[in-house]
Symmetry: C2
Subunit: 248 residues, 2 copies
């Protein structure tokens, strides 16, 4: 079965763009979605600007099966994700009684400042995503899944929402080590293999270490037999070229 379920990720926050915070969510979510059979097709990082967030939400939710967002759902004035998503959907937003009840499990009434109550602002029609760490929930509206930016909280939310998602066939991946055999040495042959095995995707990934380039060839696809056939062809190519040792 080749039923394909796609996703985009929208990372929201000035702090990623300024370099202050190094994103840890993109790689985690990429691994996670790949493992459950959802193809992450695009990532965007945008600043804390309501119009920009809303525009990105609308562009991405229309193109992919799911859109995940991280960041901007805390209690401070720069947390504007919920308002931006409401704007994207053209729905009202207000304090959600279910979310207020969750916050009351953590805070006493006199601690429920206006700022903390911001975390209960949920667009109309959304379902809540529980936050087992600090209570303030994420939410899902339509195909858009809004999560926290703090990695441990995002990960807990993703665990809760994942079982509710439609998933497709899982990607089967084989990695063939080319080692110091140069990309330029196998590139022509690999292009032929890729053409002959158009039912899989073949990538070549160099990394540069203190001892020179180290190359890996990765075969990916949803049909295990097709991946096995293409991998065998790549392996045969690499073996036949191992005498050519010019790097890259």
């Amino acid at each position: 079965m080749t039923d394909s379920v796609t996703a985009a990720l929208l990372v929201i926050g000035d702090e990623i763009l300024s370099g202050r915070t190094k994103d840890k969510n993109i790689g985690y979510i990429a691994d996670y979605l790949t493992a459950i059979g959802i193809d992450l097709c695009e990532v965007r990082v945008v600043a804390d600007v309501e119009g920009d967030i809303a525009a990105a939400v609308n562009a991405l939710r229309q193109r992919y099966t799911y859109l995940f967002t991280t960041g901007g759902i805390g209690p401070t004035h720069d947390d504007i994700t919920a308002d931006s998503v409401a704007r994207a959907f053209g729905v009202p937003i207000d304090h959600d009684p279910r979310a207020v009840a969750l916050l009351k499990e953590r805070y006493q009434d006199h601690e429920l400042t206006e700022a903390r109550l911001r975390m209960a602002r949920i667009p109309e029609g959304a379902d809540l995503i529980l936050n087992p760490i600090s209570k303030a929930p994420g939410f899902r509206i339509g195909n858009v899944i809004v999560m926290a930016g703090v990695p441990s909280i995002m990960q807990a939310m993703l665990d809760l929402v994942a079982p509710t998602l439609r998933t497709g066939a899982r990607m089967v991946v084989e990695t063939i080590e080319a080692g110091s055999l140069g990309e330029g040495a196998y590139g022509d042959g690999l292009a032929l293999v890729a053409k002959e095995h158009a039912d899989v995707s073949i990538g070549s990934y160099p990394s540069f270490t203190s001892t020179g380039f180290n190359n890996q060839i990765v075969v990916r696809g949803k049909d295990p037999a097709a991946v096995a056939r293409a991998s065998e062809a790549v392996r045969a190519l690499v073996v036949s070229l191992k005498s050519d040792r010019v790097p890259l």
Copy 2:
């Protein structure tokens, strides 16, 4: 002076979206551009699909002063960045004699396979960006700067291209440690400070550690006096609230 120079970054490669490779370039480039006075305003990660790359190039180069790209300029069939950029600009692309000459510094004639020569495919009208590590160049066409994806090579290319870029006023940043003082405790006060100091941007950044939340408030702006004034107000707020110890 508040002359603003903006940029976007386009990260190209299936391997980032599948989780196979964890991107190391976004954070590096964010820090680098911030330090030289260029505001990184948006990042996108797209797959190795020519139409998608070209569309992203056109969307981003029209919106920002500069567009940087990383990835997809190697010798294998999945390296399609140069062709995609040529398509975005509507210009021809072919083996560039200057780029071929660079490759000949590294490879003997019989080693210049068709695959390696792919690395000399440069859109018409582009200037080369030298690659001190493995010779295959990046290039600049219009306001688009095309660099390698391997971090050490990308970094060397960025060092070479940076001195040729227009830069604006550098961002001045002050970080105020709120520690375990909760975002929800200072959120209302911080919103007021932000409103009173609209000439700077104020962000609140929680991180969650084994001992609970640790919060930092960051004031950013291009006018050092304005940043100092706002930071002083934030500091006064935090000191006044230190008795309220409810986290988040």
